[in-house]
Symmetry: C2
Subunit: 179 residues, 2 copies
């Protein structure tokens, strides 16, 4: 946890702030987007597509950092909403912190490492999306995020998996039957 903060080369003025469940930290289209370090609680990022449907992009429980990278790094309008799924305490990292003064080599390495890890996760998810059925993806989700399952509504999990809540409910019924 401590080293997550060191990652940004700053430790003053980074006081955790409290937000209520349901609070939307930033919206699609926002230009000055932040990154959020979760001290405790749970966030999600998501988009709303042309047809008005939500798609969860990622969840961020304790010790995770969440942001719209494209917006934050390239100053584009954000594609993602970021929302509190629980009452949460967050450290807000704005552009000033992120594009901060000279970092040392180790801090850079840590940042590179974090980004690489995220790419690895996305890579696995993309491949799963292309090669696995909804049921297989759900079972994989249970394995990878066992501690999140109880905290997140089925609706959100379905949205993360790229299916409808109805489809997930049927899959769960199916799994329950075979055991």
């Amino acid at each position: 946890m401590e080293n997550l903060i060191e990652l940004f080369g700053i430790s003053d003025d980074l006081v955790p702030q409290k937000f209520k469940k349901g609070h939307i930290l930033q919206s699609q289209g926002d230009v000055n987007s932040n990154a959020y370090l979760v001290k405790n609680g749970l966030l999600r990022s998501y988009t709303i597509d042309q047809k008005g449907k939500e798609h969860v992009f990622m969840f961020a429980p304790e010790d995770w950092i969440i942001s719209d990278i494209e917006s934050q790094e390239f100053h584009h309008p954000a594609e993602l909403y970021i929302e509190c799924l629980e009452d949460s305490e967050l450290i807000i990292l704005n552009r000033k912190h992120l594009a901060s003064v000279e970092l040392n080599s180790q801090q850079y390495q840590q940042r590179l490492n974090k980004l690489s890890r995220r790419i690895a996760v996305l890579q696995r998810r993309m491949i799963g999306m292309m090669s696995s059925t909804a049921q297989e993806r759900y079972e994989e989700f249970l394995v990878y995020y066992p501690n999140l399952v109880g905290r997140i509504s089925q609706r959100m999990i379905a949205s993360y998996l790229g299916i409808t809540p109805e489809a997930l409910s049927k899959i769960r019924g199916q799994i329950a039957k075979n055991s």
Copy 2:
């Protein structure tokens, strides 16, 4: 192009090597994986799933860098094959180059920038995968990679889009009819 090499802090011993179309540079399971900088030609990375089906993960034309990040960065067995789709000239960047001696701050920033960009691309692709039909994804592909379309077989494009070649053929037929 030049600055792509500078990105790795080295300019000696990085001589382009030639490979024939069809050559497989690395396979699923390989542990000592490299990154490949394409001077000219065209590469793809792909996996083969449990059912024996190929899924194209990305294409890399001139000036792109391609690698299995998880393998390269975290020393895991590679999940991706990397293959030449055309006769190609490549600069091979092995771990020694990538985990190289002290980079300067600008070089680090460039690397962070490259990784962020790749995340942005993956993010867009994931969201498209969840919210768009096969036809919409194909049309978006035509817009984003107009210069690749003629160089890549329909089979590969279908695989990149996450559909079968038959489905893509029907989509193309449909589009041709309406114009």
